[in-house]
């Protein structure tokens, strides 16, 4: 019984390491999604003449439908709840989305360009370190699990 408990505890930490690694991957995916959403919005604002709600609804990614529904309803806080992004970036994005649509075309294009540049920077930062971060998280998890196993057995 004791051995089983120790094995479970070690397994839990190892799995935690893997899950933590997945969080990095998810953060990268979500940043990529937001970048592609901003590019899409920028194009729609410049060329389609659609209103903002239709710009969100025409984003071609069915996997993100739930999140996009919140964007359409201007419930940005809710939309960001399911996204894993850095806190400072989240605040920038919230401000961006809350004020999006209030200026003329030129102002909106400029705002979108600025946000796209910021997201591209974040994406490349995440991209360069993502493999390493995942490996570190997994290794740390497995190591803690292993240490606990050795100590408690």
């Amino acid at each position: 019984m004791r051995i089983l408990g120790i094995l479970l505890l070690s397994g839990f930490f190892a799995a935690g390491g893997f899950a933590f690694g997945e969080l990095f991957r998810q953060r990268y995916k979500d940043t990529k999604f937001l970048l592609s959403l901003c590019i899409h919005l920028s194009r729609e604002i410049s060329y389609s003449g659609k209103n903002l709600k239709s710009c969100f609804s025409s984003y071609p990614d069915s996997k993100r439908a739930e999140c996009l529904a919140f964007f359409q309803k201007r419930e940005f806080e809710h939309a960001f709840k399911g996204l894993h992004i850095e806190r400072s970036l989240k605040e920038e994005l919230l401000l961006f989305f809350r004020t999006l649509g209030s200026g003329d075309k030129e102002q909106e294009e400029q705002r979108c360009r600025r946000m796209i540049a910021l997201l591209e920077q974040e994406e490349s930062k995440l991209c360069s370190g993502i493999k390493e971060q995942i490996r570190v998280a997994r290794t740390v998890g497995v190591c803690i699990g292993g240490v606990l196993l050795l100590l408690l057995l």
Binding site: K50, N51, L52, R74, G101, S102, D104, K105, Q107
Partner: protein
Amino acid sequence: MPAMSFLENNLPSVLSYLLKESTEPEELRLCLHRPVVVKTRREKRISPVICTRALLEETLARLTEYSFYNHSDTVKEGYLSLPYGIRAGICGSALFQNGKISGIKDLCFLSVRIPRNIKNAALPLFSRLKSNGFTSGALLYSLPGVGKTTVLKDLIRLLSESGLSLAVIDERGELSSEASPLDTAVYRYYRKADAIVMAVKTSCPQMLILDEIGVTEQEALISAACCGVPVVASAHGSSETEILSRAAFKPLFREGIFSLLAGLTRKESELFYHFSFAHEVKGADH
């Protein structure tokens, strides 16, 4: 009424409530730091709601469905074209770039005009046009807010139902708010002068209809008349002599583009017509 439901859904709740409790509202006027005014068909009501900058900005954002960028061109000209033929007049301080208005700041006034559809409002005018075999043009005039656009909308319906091919020049999206009538080419949001030339050249209309003509449409209207297309248009004006003596319209009457003058007045909700023929009006120098 789709226009009313659009406004009820897209106005701040306090304004939406004001509209709901008014009978037959026609216009909502918001002036910064002043009470909101609701104009109905019968009265002008001053509400207890004071218009703040936040209320003005929220109204603008909601009316444009948070897509102000789609309206920046018309804002420079002082209005917003909204769905279902709703028009909002907008004013503030002008911003200039290279000597031209590039935008506005410090919004201080907003007026939302709610379109009406009155069936058979244009029947007297339609009958006059019909008696001429739809071969002559007419100029509909009245003071602002009497119902020229309402009459033109109904006239489009009546003419279209009688089987005429029409071209409607709808620069502000007010005339063609409902589903397009049968056999009608609608030039929505085009500049009037450009659209007149296009319509005559490409859509072979039997009649051309447009709202609120001015100096800029003069040449295009003359060229349309040269092609034999009768024109029905509207203009602001208080009397036939005033209309006929207006410099901008003189060439149009000289060319015989508008042989019929239709003056429109309103008492409460009833419309009254005063018809005259341009060449018969005394005291006008044309």
